[in-house]
Symmetry: D2
Subunit: 129 residues, 4 copies
Protein backbone atom coordinates (compact mmCIF):
# COMPACT_ATOMS: atom_id res chain seq x y z
CA UNK A 1 0.00 0.00 0.00
CA UNK A 2 1.41 3.35 -1.03
CA UNK A 3 1.47 5.96 1.71
CA UNK A 4 0.58 8.84 -0.61
CA UNK A 5 -2.19 9.06 -3.14
CA UNK A 6 -3.72 11.69 -5.36
CA UNK A 7 -7.28 11.71 -6.60
CA UNK A 8 -9.32 14.17 -8.67
CA UNK A 9 -13.05 14.76 -8.77
CA UNK A 10 -15.42 17.19 -10.40
CA UNK A 11 -17.74 19.13 -8.12
CA UNK A 12 -21.33 18.01 -8.72
CA UNK A 13 -24.10 20.58 -8.95
CA UNK A 14 -26.14 19.13 -6.10
CA UNK A 15 -23.11 19.43 -3.80
CA UNK A 16 -23.43 23.22 -3.82
CA UNK A 17 -25.74 25.22 -1.61
CA UNK A 18 -27.52 28.56 -1.87
CA UNK A 19 -24.25 30.41 -1.17
CA UNK A 20 -23.22 29.09 -4.60
CA UNK A 21 -20.37 27.01 -3.19
CA UNK A 22 -19.81 23.42 -2.12
CA UNK A 23 -21.47 22.81 1.24
CA UNK A 24 -18.74 22.14 3.79
CA UNK A 25 -20.18 18.77 4.85
CA UNK A 26 -19.50 17.46 1.35
CA UNK A 27 -15.74 17.72 1.83
CA UNK A 28 -16.03 14.87 4.31
CA UNK A 29 -17.61 12.84 1.53
CA UNK A 30 -14.76 13.79 -0.80
CA UNK A 31 -12.25 12.57 1.80
CA UNK A 32 -14.10 9.27 2.03
CA UNK A 33 -13.98 8.92 -1.75
CA UNK A 34 -10.26 9.57 -1.68
CA UNK A 35 -9.73 6.82 0.92
CA UNK A 36 -11.83 4.38 -1.13
CA UNK A 37 -9.90 5.21 -4.29
CA UNK A 38 -6.57 4.86 -2.50
CA UNK A 39 -7.61 1.37 -1.39
CA UNK A 40 -8.73 0.54 -4.92
CA UNK A 41 -5.42 1.76 -6.37
CA UNK A 42 -3.69 -0.63 -3.95
CA UNK A 43 -5.88 -3.51 -5.16
CA UNK A 44 -8.33 -3.47 -2.25
CA UNK A 45 -12.05 -3.18 -2.89
CA UNK A 46 -13.70 -1.61 0.16
CA UNK A 47 -16.96 -3.49 -0.55
CA UNK A 48 -14.95 -6.72 -0.29
CA UNK A 49 -13.25 -5.56 2.94
CA UNK A 50 -16.69 -5.10 4.49
CA UNK A 51 -17.82 -8.51 3.24
CA UNK A 52 -14.82 -9.96 5.11
CA UNK A 53 -16.22 -8.39 8.26
CA UNK A 54 -13.96 -5.35 8.63
CA UNK A 55 -15.77 -2.02 8.79
CA UNK A 56 -13.78 1.18 8.63
CA UNK A 57 -15.50 3.95 10.57
CA UNK A 58 -14.46 7.55 10.96
CA UNK A 59 -13.81 8.22 14.64
CA UNK A 60 -12.62 11.82 14.30
CA UNK A 61 -12.05 14.45 11.69
CA UNK A 62 -10.66 17.97 11.57
CA UNK A 63 -11.03 20.21 8.53
CA UNK A 64 -10.09 23.75 7.64
CA UNK A 65 -11.79 25.39 4.67
CA UNK A 66 -9.55 27.99 3.09
CA UNK A 67 -11.40 28.87 -0.10
CA UNK A 68 -14.83 28.11 -1.51
CA UNK A 69 -15.15 25.73 -4.45
CA UNK A 70 -17.92 25.74 -7.00
CA UNK A 71 -19.70 23.65 -9.60
CA UNK A 72 -17.36 23.51 -12.57
CA UNK A 73 -14.29 23.12 -10.35
CA UNK A 74 -12.06 20.06 -10.50
CA UNK A 75 -10.61 19.30 -7.09
CA UNK A 76 -7.42 17.37 -6.52
CA UNK A 77 -7.12 15.57 -3.19
CA UNK A 78 -3.70 14.63 -1.89
CA UNK A 79 -4.02 11.98 0.73
CA UNK A 80 -1.32 10.69 3.06
CA UNK A 81 -1.48 7.80 5.49
CA UNK A 82 0.38 9.10 8.53
CA UNK A 83 0.02 5.89 10.45
CA UNK A 84 -1.76 2.56 10.02
CA UNK A 85 -1.32 0.10 12.84
CA UNK A 86 -3.31 -1.48 15.65
CA UNK A 87 -6.93 -0.68 14.96
CA UNK A 88 -6.49 2.78 13.46
CA UNK A 89 -5.49 4.61 10.31
CA UNK A 90 -4.51 8.27 10.47
CA UNK A 91 -4.85 10.23 7.26
CA UNK A 92 -4.06 13.79 6.32
CA UNK A 93 -5.45 15.51 3.25
CA UNK A 94 -4.93 18.60 1.17
CA UNK A 95 -7.59 19.64 -1.34
CA UNK A 96 -6.45 21.76 -4.26
CA UNK A 97 -8.05 23.53 -7.20
CA UNK A 98 -5.15 23.96 -9.56
CA UNK A 99 -2.43 25.31 -7.27
CA UNK A 100 -4.77 26.88 -4.75
CA UNK A 101 -5.23 25.15 -1.44
CA UNK A 102 -8.99 24.84 -0.91
CA UNK A 103 -9.07 22.76 2.28
CA UNK A 104 -6.92 20.73 4.65
CA UNK A 105 -8.03 17.91 6.85
CA UNK A 106 -6.98 14.99 8.99
CA UNK A 107 -8.97 12.02 10.21
CA UNK A 108 -8.78 8.89 12.31
CA UNK A 109 -10.47 5.81 10.93
CA UNK A 110 -11.03 2.84 13.21
CA UNK A 111 -11.53 -0.76 12.24
CA UNK A 112 -14.55 -2.42 13.83
CA UNK A 113 -16.24 -5.78 13.36
CA UNK A 114 -19.92 -6.32 12.50
CA UNK A 115 -20.80 -6.01 16.20
CA UNK A 116 -19.13 -2.61 16.34
CA UNK A 117 -16.20 -3.85 18.44
CA UNK A 118 -12.84 -2.30 17.67
CA UNK A 119 -10.52 -4.86 16.03
CA UNK A 120 -7.06 -4.98 14.50
CA UNK A 121 -6.63 -3.80 10.95
CA UNK A 122 -6.24 -6.65 8.48
CA UNK A 123 -2.53 -7.13 7.66
CA UNK A 124 -2.78 -5.68 4.17
CA UNK A 125 -4.00 -2.34 5.55
CA UNK A 126 -1.11 -1.92 7.98
CA UNK A 127 1.96 0.18 7.32
CA UNK A 128 5.25 0.17 9.16
CA UNK A 129 6.00 3.49 10.81
CA UNK B 1 -54.48 4.05 9.92
CA UNK B 2 -55.82 7.34 8.61
CA UNK B 3 -55.86 7.68 4.85
CA UNK B 4 -54.90 11.35 4.89
CA UNK B 5 -52.11 13.06 6.75
CA UNK B 6 -50.52 16.47 6.86
CA UNK B 7 -46.95 17.19 7.84
CA UNK B 8 -44.85 20.37 7.94
CA UNK B 9 -41.12 20.82 7.68
CA UNK B 10 -38.67 23.69 7.45
CA UNK B 11 -36.33 23.74 4.48
CA UNK B 12 -32.76 23.16 5.67
CA UNK B 13 -29.93 25.27 4.27
CA UNK B 14 -27.95 22.31 2.96
CA UNK B 15 -30.99 21.16 0.95
CA UNK B 16 -30.60 24.14 -1.38
CA UNK B 17 -28.25 24.29 -4.35
CA UNK B 18 -26.41 27.04 -6.21
CA UNK B 19 -29.65 28.10 -7.94
CA UNK B 20 -30.67 29.24 -4.44
CA UNK B 21 -33.58 26.79 -4.26
CA UNK B 22 -34.22 23.32 -2.87
CA UNK B 23 -32.60 20.72 -5.11
CA UNK B 24 -35.35 18.65 -6.72
CA UNK B 25 -33.99 15.33 -5.43
CA UNK B 26 -34.67 16.50 -1.88
CA UNK B 27 -38.42 16.47 -2.45
CA UNK B 28 -38.21 12.68 -2.61
CA UNK B 29 -36.64 12.81 0.84
CA UNK B 30 -39.47 15.06 2.06
CA UNK B 31 -42.01 12.54 0.76
CA UNK B 32 -40.23 9.77 2.65
CA UNK B 33 -40.32 11.84 5.83
CA UNK B 34 -44.04 12.39 5.35
CA UNK B 35 -44.64 8.63 5.03
CA UNK B 36 -42.57 7.95 8.15
CA UNK B 37 -44.47 10.61 10.10
CA UNK B 38 -47.82 9.29 8.90
CA UNK B 39 -46.84 5.85 10.20
CA UNK B 40 -45.72 7.36 13.48
CA UNK B 41 -48.99 9.28 13.85
CA UNK B 42 -50.79 5.94 13.44
CA UNK B 43 -48.64 4.41 16.18
CA UNK B 44 -46.23 2.58 13.88
CA UNK B 45 -42.51 3.13 14.24
CA UNK B 46 -40.83 2.42 10.88
CA UNK B 47 -37.61 1.33 12.62
CA UNK B 48 -39.69 -1.33 14.42
CA UNK B 49 -41.39 -2.40 11.16
CA UNK B 50 -37.93 -3.07 9.67
CA UNK B 51 -36.86 -4.98 12.79
CA UNK B 52 -39.92 -7.22 12.19
CA UNK B 53 -38.49 -7.97 8.75
CA UNK B 54 -40.71 -5.78 6.57
CA UNK B 55 -38.82 -3.31 4.39
CA UNK B 56 -40.77 -0.66 2.52
CA UNK B 57 -39.00 0.26 -0.71
CA UNK B 58 -39.97 2.87 -3.27
CA UNK B 59 -40.64 1.11 -6.56
CA UNK B 60 -41.74 4.15 -8.55
CA UNK B 61 -42.25 7.86 -8.14
CA UNK B 62 -43.56 10.70 -10.25
CA UNK B 63 -43.13 14.34 -9.27
CA UNK B 64 -43.98 17.69 -10.79
CA UNK B 65 -42.24 20.78 -9.48
CA UNK B 66 -44.42 23.85 -9.87
CA UNK B 67 -42.51 26.49 -7.93
CA UNK B 68 -39.10 26.69 -6.30
CA UNK B 69 -38.83 26.67 -2.51
CA UNK B 70 -36.02 28.21 -0.51
CA UNK B 71 -34.26 28.16 2.82
CA UNK B 72 -36.59 29.94 5.23
CA UNK B 73 -39.70 28.31 3.73
CA UNK B 74 -41.97 26.06 5.73
CA UNK B 75 -43.46 23.37 3.52
CA UNK B 76 -46.70 21.57 4.26
CA UNK B 77 -47.05 18.11 2.77
CA UNK B 78 -50.50 16.62 2.31
CA UNK B 79 -50.25 12.91 1.91
CA UNK B 80 -52.98 10.49 0.88
CA UNK B 81 -52.90 6.71 0.77
CA UNK B 82 -54.76 5.88 -2.43
CA UNK B 83 -54.47 2.15 -1.94
CA UNK B 84 -52.74 -0.21 0.49
CA UNK B 85 -53.25 -3.88 -0.18
CA UNK B 86 -51.33 -6.90 -1.39
CA UNK B 87 -47.68 -5.92 -1.33
CA UNK B 88 -48.04 -2.27 -2.30
CA UNK B 89 -48.99 1.15 -0.98
CA UNK B 90 -49.90 3.92 -3.40
CA UNK B 91 -49.50 7.45 -2.09
CA UNK B 92 -50.22 10.83 -3.59
CA UNK B 93 -48.76 14.08 -2.26
CA UNK B 94 -49.21 17.80 -2.55
CA UNK B 95 -46.51 20.11 -1.21
CA UNK B 96 -47.59 23.62 -0.25
CA UNK B 97 -45.92 26.79 0.96
CA UNK B 98 -48.84 28.66 2.52
CA UNK B 99 -51.54 28.34 -0.13
CA UNK B 100 -49.17 27.95 -3.07
CA UNK B 101 -48.76 24.52 -4.59
CA UNK B 102 -45.01 23.89 -4.78
CA UNK B 103 -45.01 20.27 -5.98
CA UNK B 104 -47.20 17.25 -6.59
CA UNK B 105 -46.16 13.66 -6.54
CA UNK B 106 -47.29 10.05 -6.40
CA UNK B 107 -45.37 6.93 -5.50
CA UNK B 108 -45.64 3.19 -5.19
CA UNK B 109 -43.99 1.61 -2.18
CA UNK B 110 -43.51 -2.16 -2.13
CA UNK B 111 -43.08 -4.39 0.88
CA UNK B 112 -40.10 -6.74 0.69
CA UNK B 113 -38.47 -9.10 3.14
CA UNK B 114 -34.79 -9.06 4.18
CA UNK B 115 -33.94 -11.14 1.10
CA UNK B 116 -35.52 -8.52 -1.14
CA UNK B 117 -38.50 -10.73 -2.01
CA UNK B 118 -41.85 -8.99 -2.40
CA UNK B 119 -44.20 -9.93 0.45
CA UNK B 120 -47.65 -9.01 1.72
CA UNK B 121 -48.03 -5.86 3.75
CA UNK B 122 -48.45 -6.54 7.46
CA UNK B 123 -52.17 -6.35 8.37
CA UNK B 124 -51.86 -3.05 10.20
CA UNK B 125 -50.58 -1.31 7.06
CA UNK B 126 -53.47 -2.44 4.85
CA UNK B 127 -56.50 -0.31 4.05
CA UNK B 128 -59.81 -1.40 2.57
CA UNK B 129 -60.50 0.21 -0.78
CA UNK C 1 -25.57 17.75 -29.90
CA UNK C 2 -25.93 13.99 -29.99
CA UNK C 3 -29.37 12.69 -29.08
CA UNK C 4 -28.03 9.65 -27.25
CA UNK C 5 -25.36 9.45 -24.61
CA UNK C 6 -23.95 6.87 -22.26
CA UNK C 7 -22.29 7.59 -18.96
CA UNK C 8 -20.90 5.38 -16.17
CA UNK C 9 -20.47 6.08 -12.49
CA UNK C 10 -19.44 4.18 -9.40
CA UNK C 11 -21.87 4.10 -6.52
CA UNK C 12 -20.42 6.05 -3.58
CA UNK C 13 -20.67 4.65 -0.08
CA UNK C 14 -22.56 7.63 1.32
CA UNK C 15 -25.24 7.20 -1.36
CA UNK C 16 -26.44 4.00 0.30
CA UNK C 17 -28.84 3.84 3.22
CA UNK C 18 -29.47 1.44 6.09
CA UNK C 19 -31.21 -1.01 3.72
CA UNK C 20 -27.71 -1.45 2.25
CA UNK C 21 -28.73 -0.10 -1.15
CA UNK C 22 -28.60 3.23 -2.97
CA UNK C 23 -31.29 5.54 -1.61
CA UNK C 24 -33.84 6.13 -4.36
CA UNK C 25 -33.48 9.94 -4.22
CA UNK C 26 -29.88 9.57 -5.38
CA UNK C 27 -30.95 8.25 -8.78
CA UNK C 28 -32.27 11.74 -9.52
CA UNK C 29 -28.77 13.01 -8.82
CA UNK C 30 -27.33 10.39 -11.15
CA UNK C 31 -29.70 11.55 -13.91
CA UNK C 32 -28.54 15.14 -13.38
CA UNK C 33 -24.93 14.03 -13.66
CA UNK C 34 -25.73 12.25 -16.90
CA UNK C 35 -27.31 15.40 -18.34
CA UNK C 36 -24.30 17.48 -17.31
CA UNK C 37 -21.90 14.96 -18.85
CA UNK C 38 -23.92 14.80 -22.06
CA UNK C 39 -23.64 18.58 -22.32
CA UNK C 40 -19.91 18.41 -21.63
CA UNK C 41 -19.43 15.72 -24.29
CA UNK C 42 -21.13 18.09 -26.75
CA UNK C 43 -18.74 20.90 -25.76
CA UNK C 44 -21.11 22.74 -23.43
CA UNK C 45 -20.08 23.49 -19.86
CA UNK C 46 -23.21 23.79 -17.72
CA UNK C 47 -21.47 26.26 -15.39
CA UNK C 48 -20.91 28.49 -18.42
CA UNK C 49 -24.55 28.09 -19.56
CA UNK C 50 -25.67 29.40 -16.14
CA UNK C 51 -23.19 32.30 -16.35
CA UNK C 52 -24.88 33.23 -19.66
CA UNK C 53 -28.15 33.48 -17.73
CA UNK C 54 -29.82 30.21 -18.74
CA UNK C 55 -30.82 27.98 -15.84
CA UNK C 56 -32.03 24.48 -16.54
CA UNK C 57 -34.51 23.34 -13.91
CA UNK C 58 -36.25 19.99 -13.56
CA UNK C 59 -39.98 20.52 -13.88
CA UNK C 60 -41.05 16.88 -13.68
CA UNK C 61 -39.56 13.46 -13.28
CA UNK C 62 -40.83 9.89 -13.30
CA UNK C 63 -38.71 6.97 -12.18
CA UNK C 64 -39.20 3.24 -11.78
CA UNK C 65 -36.74 1.31 -9.64
CA UNK C 66 -36.45 -2.29 -10.79
CA UNK C 67 -33.52 -3.59 -8.78
CA UNK C 68 -31.46 -2.28 -5.89
CA UNK C 69 -27.87 -1.18 -6.49
CA UNK C 70 -25.11 -1.19 -3.92
CA UNK C 71 -21.73 0.28 -3.06
CA UNK C 72 -19.25 -1.47 -5.34
CA UNK C 73 -21.62 -1.34 -8.33
CA UNK C 74 -20.78 0.52 -11.49
CA UNK C 75 -23.90 1.93 -13.09
CA UNK C 76 -24.24 2.75 -16.76
CA UNK C 77 -26.78 5.42 -17.65
CA UNK C 78 -28.17 5.57 -21.17
CA UNK C 79 -29.69 8.93 -21.80
CA UNK C 80 -31.79 10.00 -24.76
CA UNK C 81 -33.08 13.45 -25.64
CA UNK C 82 -36.60 12.80 -26.85
CA UNK C 83 -37.26 16.43 -27.64
CA UNK C 84 -35.49 19.75 -27.21
CA UNK C 85 -37.35 22.77 -28.48
CA UNK C 86 -39.15 25.83 -27.18
CA UNK C 87 -38.26 26.09 -23.52
CA UNK C 88 -38.10 22.39 -22.68
CA UNK C 89 -35.92 19.32 -22.99
CA UNK C 90 -37.44 15.86 -22.57
CA UNK C 91 -35.05 13.10 -21.59
CA UNK C 92 -35.49 9.40 -21.04
CA UNK C 93 -33.01 7.25 -19.15
CA UNK C 94 -32.17 3.64 -18.53
CA UNK C 95 -29.81 2.73 -15.71
CA UNK C 96 -27.95 -0.58 -16.04
CA UNK C 97 -25.58 -2.64 -13.94
CA UNK C 98 -23.94 -4.85 -16.51
CA UNK C 99 -26.92 -6.10 -18.54
CA UNK C 100 -29.44 -5.76 -15.75
CA UNK C 101 -31.89 -2.90 -15.91
CA UNK C 102 -31.74 -1.18 -12.51
CA UNK C 103 -34.01 1.81 -13.16
CA UNK C 104 -35.84 3.71 -15.87
CA UNK C 105 -36.79 7.35 -15.84
CA UNK C 106 -37.95 10.31 -17.85
CA UNK C 107 -37.81 13.99 -17.06
CA UNK C 108 -38.75 17.42 -18.35
CA UNK C 109 -36.18 20.16 -17.90
CA UNK C 110 -37.25 23.77 -18.43
CA UNK C 111 -35.05 26.71 -19.29
CA UNK C 112 -35.56 29.74 -17.05
CA UNK C 113 -33.77 33.05 -16.69
CA UNK C 114 -32.27 34.45 -13.47
CA UNK C 115 -35.68 35.83 -12.51
CA UNK C 116 -37.19 32.34 -12.82
CA UNK C 117 -39.13 33.21 -15.99
CA UNK C 118 -39.42 30.45 -18.58
CA UNK C 119 -37.37 31.32 -21.67
CA UNK C 120 -36.38 29.72 -24.97
CA UNK C 121 -33.53 27.25 -24.98
CA UNK C 122 -30.34 28.70 -26.40
CA UNK C 123 -29.94 27.59 -30.04
CA UNK C 124 -27.15 25.14 -29.32
CA UNK C 125 -29.38 23.15 -26.95
CA UNK C 126 -32.20 22.70 -29.47
CA UNK C 127 -32.71 19.59 -31.58
CA UNK C 128 -34.91 19.17 -34.63
CA UNK C 129 -37.65 16.62 -34.10
CA UNK D 1 -28.39 36.08 22.45
CA UNK D 2 -28.10 33.17 24.86
CA UNK D 3 -24.70 31.53 24.98
CA UNK D 4 -26.10 28.01 25.40
CA UNK D 5 -28.80 26.28 23.45
CA UNK D 6 -30.27 22.82 23.21
CA UNK D 7 -31.93 21.36 20.17
CA UNK D 8 -33.39 17.93 19.37
CA UNK D 9 -33.84 16.20 16.04
CA UNK D 10 -34.93 12.81 14.81
CA UNK D 11 -32.51 10.90 12.61
CA UNK D 12 -33.94 10.64 9.09
CA UNK D 13 -33.75 7.34 7.22
CA UNK D 14 -31.81 8.77 4.28
CA UNK D 15 -29.12 10.06 6.67
CA UNK D 16 -28.01 6.49 7.36
CA UNK D 17 -25.62 4.49 5.19
CA UNK D 18 -25.06 0.81 4.45
CA UNK D 19 -23.36 0.34 7.83
CA UNK D 20 -26.84 0.96 9.25
CA UNK D 21 -25.77 4.14 11.06
CA UNK D 22 -25.82 7.88 10.41
CA UNK D 23 -23.09 8.77 7.92
CA UNK D 24 -20.51 10.91 9.73
CA UNK D 25 -20.79 13.82 7.26
CA UNK D 26 -24.40 14.31 8.37
CA UNK D 27 -23.32 15.37 11.85
CA UNK D 28 -21.94 18.56 10.26
CA UNK D 29 -25.42 19.18 8.90
CA UNK D 30 -26.89 18.60 12.35
CA UNK D 31 -24.48 21.18 13.80
CA UNK D 32 -25.58 23.67 11.15
CA UNK D 33 -29.21 23.05 12.03
CA UNK D 34 -28.42 23.66 15.68
CA UNK D 35 -26.77 27.00 14.86
CA UNK D 36 -29.76 28.04 12.73
CA UNK D 37 -32.20 27.07 15.49
CA UNK D 38 -30.16 28.91 18.11
CA UNK D 39 -30.36 32.05 15.97
CA UNK D 40 -34.08 31.54 15.51
CA UNK D 41 -34.60 31.10 19.26
CA UNK D 42 -32.84 34.45 19.72
CA UNK D 43 -35.19 36.08 17.19
CA UNK D 44 -32.79 36.03 14.25
CA UNK D 45 -33.83 34.43 10.98
CA UNK D 46 -30.70 33.26 9.13
CA UNK D 47 -32.41 33.76 5.76
CA UNK D 48 -32.90 37.41 6.74
CA UNK D 49 -29.27 37.73 7.90
CA UNK D 50 -28.16 36.61 4.42
CA UNK D 51 -30.57 39.05 2.76
CA UNK D 52 -28.83 41.81 4.77
CA UNK D 53 -25.58 40.74 3.14
CA UNK D 54 -23.96 38.78 5.97
CA UNK D 55 -23.02 35.22 5.10
CA UNK D 56 -21.89 32.88 7.84
CA UNK D 57 -19.43 30.31 6.50
CA UNK D 58 -17.78 27.44 8.33
CA UNK D 59 -14.02 27.98 8.27
CA UNK D 60 -13.04 25.00 10.39
CA UNK D 61 -14.59 22.09 12.20
CA UNK D 62 -13.39 19.29 14.44
CA UNK D 63 -15.58 16.34 15.38
CA UNK D 64 -15.16 13.16 17.37
CA UNK D 65 -17.66 10.37 16.88
CA UNK D 66 -18.03 8.28 20.03
CA UNK D 67 -20.98 6.06 19.22
CA UNK D 68 -23.05 5.33 16.13
CA UNK D 69 -26.62 6.63 15.91
CA UNK D 70 -29.40 5.08 13.89
CA UNK D 71 -32.74 5.75 12.28
CA UNK D 72 -35.23 5.86 15.12
CA UNK D 73 -32.85 7.77 17.41
CA UNK D 74 -33.64 11.21 18.74
CA UNK D 75 -30.47 13.25 19.12
CA UNK D 76 -30.09 16.16 21.48
CA UNK D 77 -27.50 18.76 20.53
CA UNK D 78 -26.08 21.04 23.21
CA UNK D 79 -24.50 24.04 21.61
CA UNK D 80 -22.35 26.67 23.27
CA UNK D 81 -20.99 29.90 21.83
CA UNK D 82 -17.47 30.07 23.20
CA UNK D 83 -16.73 33.38 21.58
CA UNK D 84 -18.44 35.77 19.14
CA UNK D 85 -16.50 38.88 18.26
CA UNK D 86 -14.64 40.40 15.37
CA UNK D 87 -15.54 38.37 12.33
CA UNK D 88 -15.81 34.95 13.98
CA UNK D 89 -18.05 32.79 16.12
CA UNK D 90 -16.60 29.80 17.95
CA UNK D 91 -19.06 27.06 18.89
CA UNK D 92 -18.69 23.82 20.76
CA UNK D 93 -21.22 21.01 20.61
CA UNK D 94 -22.14 17.81 22.37
CA UNK D 95 -24.54 15.39 20.72
CA UNK D 96 -26.46 13.04 23.01
CA UNK D 97 -28.88 10.17 22.63
CA UNK D 98 -30.54 10.09 26.02
CA UNK D 99 -27.59 10.31 28.41
CA UNK D 100 -25.06 8.78 26.02
CA UNK D 101 -22.56 11.06 24.38
CA UNK D 102 -22.70 10.31 20.65
CA UNK D 103 -20.38 13.00 19.31
CA UNK D 104 -18.47 16.14 20.26
CA UNK D 105 -17.46 18.95 17.97
CA UNK D 106 -16.23 22.49 17.71
CA UNK D 107 -16.30 24.91 14.81
CA UNK D 108 -15.30 28.36 13.69
CA UNK D 109 -17.80 30.28 11.62
CA UNK D 110 -16.65 33.42 9.79
CA UNK D 111 -18.79 36.30 8.63
CA UNK D 112 -18.25 37.27 4.99
CA UNK D 113 -19.98 39.67 2.64
CA UNK D 114 -21.47 38.79 -0.78
CA UNK D 115 -18.04 39.20 -2.35
CA UNK D 116 -16.60 36.64 0.05
CA UNK D 117 -14.63 39.25 2.02
CA UNK D 118 -14.37 38.69 5.76
CA UNK D 119 -16.37 41.34 7.64
CA UNK D 120 -17.37 42.13 11.21
CA UNK D 121 -20.26 40.27 12.73
CA UNK D 122 -23.42 42.36 12.91
CA UNK D 123 -23.81 43.76 16.46
CA UNK D 124 -26.68 41.46 17.39
CA UNK D 125 -24.49 38.38 16.79
CA UNK D 126 -21.65 39.53 19.06
CA UNK D 127 -21.19 38.39 22.64
CA UNK D 128 -18.98 39.92 25.32
CA UNK D 129 -16.30 37.54 26.50
Amino acid sequence: MQREFEFSLDVRYYETDAQGVVHHANYLKYLELARVEQLRAAGHDYAEIERQGFLLVVSSVTARFHRPSRFGDTLRIRLRIDRARGARVLHSYKVYRGDELVAEASSVVACVDRAGKVCKLPDYLRLDD
